[in-house]
Amino acid sequence: MKFQKELKDSIRKALPELDVVIGWCGSFDPLHATPHFIRREEDIEKLEIGPLSVHNLATYLPGLRGKKVGIVVKGCDSRSVIELLQEKLIARDDITIFGFPCTGVVDQAKIKKALGYVGNVESCDMSDKSVVIVAAGKAHSLELSDVLADKCHSCRYPDAIISDIFVGDKSGEAVPAPADYEALATFENLSLPDRFGFWLKELDRCIRCYACRSACPLCVCRDHCAAESREPHWLSQENNVRDKLMFQVIHAYHLAGRCTECGECQRACPVDIPVLMLKQKMNKEIRDIFKYEAGVDPEETPPLLSFKMEEENITEKDW
């Protein structure tokens, strides 16, 4: 990326004041990136940003509370940072935000689906339009737009909304068009028993690894999660589809009015359960009722932490 050098320079300048700067770097093969914790000057060179920078690094911020942290954010990640600031889970003075104009990240699940298992990846070349992956001596070519994450196709905030240092040119004003939730609308055309059956079938695969929870930047209860609590005993430890579904409802409900739809829950899921859809539904309802979108303004109050004496958009049942 063109502004990568500029970004490295600004990190170099800021690093003496900071304990750690979080970015991305290459991983076990050229097709993957991994979060990169820059503590020393020599770590900076390893930094790489691009379509492989999929992780939402804001997830690390609450755990690093009290330290001076620098963080590199995509537009969607910056919304998680705003949400964390809004809930006072991190202090604004402690973090330095590096923004850049994001052009979209890939969805590894889509690559896997398109290519199947290809063996050892030797190189991966990403241009603006295409991805060329060389694996086991064979070149595979894909259209970049075919493997971009769903959230990137309808991205409304490619630039970090909040940043201390912004490198590169802003890709323009945020497009305030409302999210359209196409997949959700299609799903809602199904009959109710079909929807019920769909969730049972999907959740049956769940292995209860709680990667969705670990990857979620707003799941901040850590050791006090309702999933592990014994009093009240929300969930049993049995391998039971009811508990698996219940956990996803708990997750979605605990994110009501907070979720910024970064999609980390779904990306982290090792068995590809479409758990993001539950959160999208929640967000859609919140938008319709409260005209509220999470992670845009750090000064706002989440809708479930406030109320109005007369609610304009709630019509109660007339008995």
């Binding site: 809602e188 109710l192 929807r195 969730w199 219940m246 409900y253 009722i289 109320f307 109005k308 008995w319």
Partner: protein
Amino acid sequence: MPVLEGKELRIVGFLCNWCSYGGADTAGVGRFKQPTDLRIIKVPCSGRIDPLFVVKALMNGADGVLVSGCHPRDCHYAEGNFYARRRLEIMHKFLPILGYEPGRFEYTWVSASEGQRWQQVVTSFTEQIHKLGPAPKILGPEASDTLGLMQAAL
């Protein structure tokens, strides 16, 4: 075998201590006739109700859930029901995505003196649930247990 088996569905009611529970009591003292499907759980305030109670009840075999608290502006704790209203409304809108009819869950306000209103709420809600029939149940640890039965029912 109990006389009502097969005729009754299971409805769970979460009632606040100060208004609706009193209202239900008033209805009882006044000997107003009510259907018997409802089982009441008393909570301190409608603000105490985690909307996840509703989902948990439905998933564990309830056919309907009724929540009732003090009328807005009349909360014993001044504002508990204002928060409850927002939370419950969202859950009401959210339930259909899971495959539950929105009508399986309702929330309302009944004051301690409104025995008559309580009778009306219980009667019409029970009627509503009977119209919907038994809620989809999750049987057994594997999804296939339930899915097989759902197929067979079609």
